[in-house]
């Protein structure tokens, strides 16, 4: 069990993976200089969590309380979009393993494109999302 926090930069999002509390969060812009170097470790971490869950075979905690994936994204480039879909495909495998998952997608009220981006991702990975309007960029 561990908690990973990656601080945001001008080009990379803030990322939090809190295994113990069943929480993943990604927010702000994503346009990494080396997109593979940034996202590969995150994908590996999420894959290792699902492997641990499968090995232990007892994840009642996440059955009762969902593993929450929160996305509060600003701008993300097309290469980042590919990795966001990779993350969501791992979310799908959490679900297929029996974990109760919840995906919360935030967007600003006047940014319908961002809501549409969430709807597209939801369709592509076949996982249902909840949609929320952000009040301001620091909204929790």
């Amino acid at each position: 069990m561990s908690k990973i926090i990656i601080e945001k930069t001008d080009r990379t999002p803030e990322l939090i993976i809190d295994t113990e509390n069943g929480f993943f969060s990604m927010q702000y812009d994503s346009r990494p200089e080396d997109v593979r170097k940034f996202y590969y470790p995150i994908l590996e971490k999420l894959k290792s969590i699902i492997e641990d869950i499968k090995k232990v075979g007892n994840f009642s905690y996440f059955k009762e309380k969902p593993f929450v994936f929160t996305f509060k994204l600003g701008y993300f480039n097309s290469s980042s979009a590919k990795f966001i879909l990779d993350i969501l495909n791992i979310v799908k495998s959490f679900k297929e393993a029996g974990v109760n998952v919840e995906v919360n997608w935030y967007y600003f009220e006047d940014e319908d494109d961002m809501k549409e981006a969430g709807e597209d991702f939801s369709e592509f990975c076949e996982v249902e999302f909840n949609y929320f309007i952000m009040e301001d960029e620091d909204d929790e």
Partner: protein, 168 residues
């Protein structure tokens, strides 16, 4: 009398490198924030600038880097913002680009989404960091309001001109 206002609002001519790319994107962000009222158009214009300029940065052949003068401008023509990107490529590279652009051109919004879905679900990130989605993303956010041409400027080199329009 039919008049046309054609005002260059933003222009750049020079060589592309990581520092120039960053500076340009900061300047474009600031330009759209200060000049465009509609949030959706601001965001879409910025997305187009990022994808097109990152494409130019990633895909410029090393042999052309020294002579590659990038031209990038944003013009307001009547009630339409026109983003134009010009870069030098080998003519043989234009064939691949033509293939991608022909596949995009004239597609409806729904067809672009299907193409985007088919591409993103199979995408492999190249060593240069591309996913093959840039031009599709540009078509997606501009409602496919794109034009392109290739101008021969030498025996084996040509200019790739990409124009993306946003009606205000």
């Amino acid at each position: 009398m039919n008049t046309t206002s054609n005002k260059v609002n933003f222009s750049f001519l020079g060589q592309m490198n990581p520092e120039v790319l960053e500076k340009l994107l900061v300047d474009v962000k600031s330009f759209v924030e200060n000049n465009i009222k509609k949030t959706a158009i601001k965001r879409r214009m910025y997305i187009v600038a990022v994808e097109a300029l990152e494409n130019i940065f990633r895909h410029t052949n090393d042999k052309l880097k020294k002579l590659n003068n990038i031209k990038f401008s944003i013009k307001l023509v009547d009630n339409t913002y026109v983003l134009e990107f010009v870069n030098v490529i080998f003519c043989k590279e234009s064939e691949e680009l033509k293939k991608i652009l022909c596949n995009i051109k004239d597609k409806s919004k729904g067809e672009i989404k299907e193409l985007y879905k088919a591409t993103i679900t199979k995408a492999q990130i190249t060593p240069k960091g591309g996913a093959g989605l840039g031009l599709i993303e540009i078509a997606k956010v501009s409602n496919n309001n794109i034009n392109y041409k290739f101008n021969n400027i030498g025996d084996d080199i040509c200019e790739f001109v990409l124009e993306v329009k946003f009606d205000l």
